[in-house]
């Protein structure tokens, strides 16, 4: 309970000031993929919306298309730099060696496992049985089977959303803060981003690494990269996947 209170306080502080926040978890034995590995990226879910004055997120097809291309390109450049070969499957039928239904099953399975990870690792509902064991989740035999059939070593799931503040929204933010001068402070959220990624080792079926990136600010005009531009997309991919930390057991081993 006290931990929750601390988390809440921290969260409030973050939204009021605005910042970039990342938090990753890894399997105890995790070593970031390096060298000659094959990575399968399943249907990256990228979307860009415009925040209306009233705070509704208006999805934008054109912006989303741009961002999708940018994120894929950034991902490709990053993975090639590490020596990996990558396939980005935009559709389920694009994965060689297995049918679309199998991919759908894996996606649904991964979705519920990811939900568990978010609930127990990020929302503070920590499980006593998993304490001190790093990221201890698996997709099991189905994922191993997929690796065998497709020949891929790792599978990556990626979600990235970017909400851009419209002019109306920014104006409201400005007024909300200016109002403090006469005793009516109503700061409201502007541009913000949420991205997360999970990496599955197809040799063991385990979810070996998970990361969440959140950016946002209540100060009008402040943004942390814009994924509609190649630079912004590269920044997000870097924040999300750039600094993969090895698992605790591996780090201990190295320290010795």
């Amino acid at each position: 309970m006290r931990k929750m209170a601390i988390a809440m306080t921290v969260a409030l502080g973050v939204t009021a000031s605005g910042c970039v926040e990342t938090r990753q978890f890894a399997d105890m034995q995790f070593t970031p993929p390096q060298g000659d590995y094959k990575l399968l990226v399943l249907r990256p879910n990228v979307s860009v919306s415009e925040l209306t004055a009233g705070g509704m997120a208006q999805p934008r097809a054109d912006w989303t298309e741009q961002a999708r291309t940018n994120i894929t390109n950034a991902l490709r450049a990053q993975q090639a730099g590490r020596g990996g070969k990558m396939l980005v499957a935009e559709r389920r039928v694009q994965v060689p060696g297995v049918d679309a239904d199998t991919i759908a099953e894996i996606e649904r399975l991964n979705y519920v496992v990811d939900q568990s990870i978010v609930l127990h690792k990020y929302y503070g509902m920590s499980l006593p049985t998993k304490r001190g064991r790093g990221l201890d989740y698996t997709l099991g035999e189905e994922a191993v089977e997929l690796g065998r059939k497709t020949g891929y070593d790792y599978m990556l799931f990626l979600h990235a959303e970017d909400n851009r503040a419209s002019t109306g929204r920014t104006a409201l933010q400005v007024i909300g803060i200016a109002g403090c001068a006469i005793g009516f402070c109503a700061p409201s959220g502007g541009a913000n981003q949420l991205a997360y990624a999970s990496l599955v080792d197809l040799k063991s079926g385990d979810v070996v690494w998970f990361n969440v990136v959140q950016t946002g600010s209540q100060l009008p005009g402040v943004t942390f990269g814009d994924i509609r531009s190649p630079e912004g997309a590269a920044l997000m991919v870097e924040r999300l996947l750039g600094r993969m930390k090895p698992g605790r057991a591996v780090r201990k081993e190295k320290a010795r």
Binding site: A53, G54, G55, P59, R60, A61, G179, F184
Partner: protein, 409 residues
């Protein structure tokens, strides 16, 4: 999405925010019936969005359709998909060829249309329809949501109102701060008012769909009155379900529901049907075609319903379907409903249903099983044995066959 079912906004949360009555007076509740002739399609065949907000909405929903099309809840019984496709082609108006229909195995009365023109039907809806006209009526209603561009219209309305609300709140706060008064209560009331007008807009859209759907139905030679009967059936079911649970039917405050209350909806539909019915024209409700089409899944539909543990609703549905004639399948599930409710005397009621069920040629093998077991329980062993022998004859590889066999030695 525009569904048939109830609102997803928590009514309690709304009430808790206070001032409901005042706001209601301000917004007004009454809504007049929409004449079906005024409901023309706003889109033609091959429609694609041209404005950015609608394009954004369409793109988001594409992924949703991919998810539904690959869902393992989809019912893939032979012929059913073709049948539904053929129906939407009939009553889908000018965009009939662009629409897609998916049937998912969810034992509830619901259907929904998505902005890109695909609709999802729950299997519980098929269970409740007495004939093709009733099903076509719901399909026509959902099609009208697409033809009248309801989703984007609702979205734009929400956007406009939330913008106005945000600006209004800011002005109110600043004004209040300047004048030195606390405006929190007025702000809360205004928030409720905004939500109420959103819901009212949605009810208007539902009424539009009812009017246009009834017209599409009548144009294809189905009796338009069947649409009102669908609502009559829903009211009866909700009432009996509540009575069995010894609770009053949830009287949706019509003010807080996104859909018109079933009663007022039914009244409007009856008036619309009278207006649309051409004297002397012959209307066909297509009952025989409907029964033939859903035959491969009808037992599954009944089975799913019985297992919901809602005996009032189940009894109402079975009795409603039986108005067109009893058969072995319906009698068997009537018995199952009593047996699973398991109150005092229910075993005897179930036994009677099973006994009647096996007199019909279409009685499922399980009817013979339960008929036999009921007879043995009543001490009528020889007759019970005969019934169980019949069961094994019909289903020699049943999972419990060895067990039943040793019972009748």
């Amino acid at each position: 999405m525009n569904g048939l079912g109830t609102s997803f906004l928590s009514r309690r949360a709304l009430l808790a925010s206070g001032g409901a009555a005042t706001a209601a007076l301000a917004t007004g509740v009454a809504s007049a019936r929409i004449p079906p002739s005024s409901m023309q399609a706003l889109i033609g065949p091959g429609y694609r969005p041209t404005e950015v907000d609608e394009q954004g909405l369409w793109q988001q929903v594409e992924r949703v359709e991919e998810e539904i099309a690959g869902s393992n809840l989809l019912i893939k019984a032979p012929g059913i998909e073709d049948y539904l496709r053929q129906l939407i082609g009939k009553v889908g108006g000018p965009a009939a060829r662009d629409m897609r229909i998916y049937l998912v195995r969810v034992p509830e009365f619901n259907a929904m249309m998505f902005p890109t023109g695909f609709t999802v039907f729950f299997s519980g809806l098929l269970l409740r329809m007495r004939n093709e006209a009733q099903l076509a009526g719901v399909i026509a209603h959902e099609s009208a949501h697409f033809l009248r561009r309801h989703m984007i219209r609702q979205w734009r309305d929400m956007k406009r109102k939330s913008d106005l609300f945000a600006v209004g709140m800011m002005a109110l706060g600043l004004g209040g701060a300047g004048a030195g008064v606390y405006t929190g209560d007025i702000a809360r009331l205004a928030q409720l008012g905004t939500i109420l007008t959103l819901l009212r807009y949605s009810r208007t859209l539902e009424a539009e769909s009812d009017a246009m759907g009834a017209r599409l139905l009548a144009e294809q030679g189905y009796p338009p009155l069947e649409m009102a009967d669908t609502w009559q059936q829903l009211i009866g079911e909700l009432d009996l379900s509540a009575k069995y649970r010894r609770k009053p039917r949830e009287r949706d405050l019509s003010l807080f529901s996104t859909h018109p209350a079933p009663e007022s909806r039914m009244k409007d539909l009856r008036a619309t049907a009278r207006e649309l019915t051409v004297p002397g024209r012959i209307y066909d409700n297509g009952r025989a075609r409907y029964l033939q089409a859903i035959a491969p899944i009808r037992q599954m539909l009944l089975d799913d319903q019985v297992k919901l543990n809602d005996p009032g609703a189940t009894q109402y549905i079975i009795n409603t379907l039986a108005q067109d004639g009893w058969n072995g399948l319906l009698r068997f599930y009537e018995g199952e409903n009593w047996r699973l409710r398991n109150r005092a005397g229910d075993d005897l009621r179930a036994a009677q249903s099973y006994a009647v069920a096996v007199a019909y040629p279409d009685a499922p093998p399980d009817a013979w099983r339960w008929h036999g077991l009921s007879l043995i329980k009543q001490g009528r062993r020889p007759e019970g044995r005969a019934a169980l022998t019949r069961y094994l004859g019909l289903q020699p590889n049943a999972p419990d066959a060895p067990f039943i066999r040793q019972m009748i030695i």
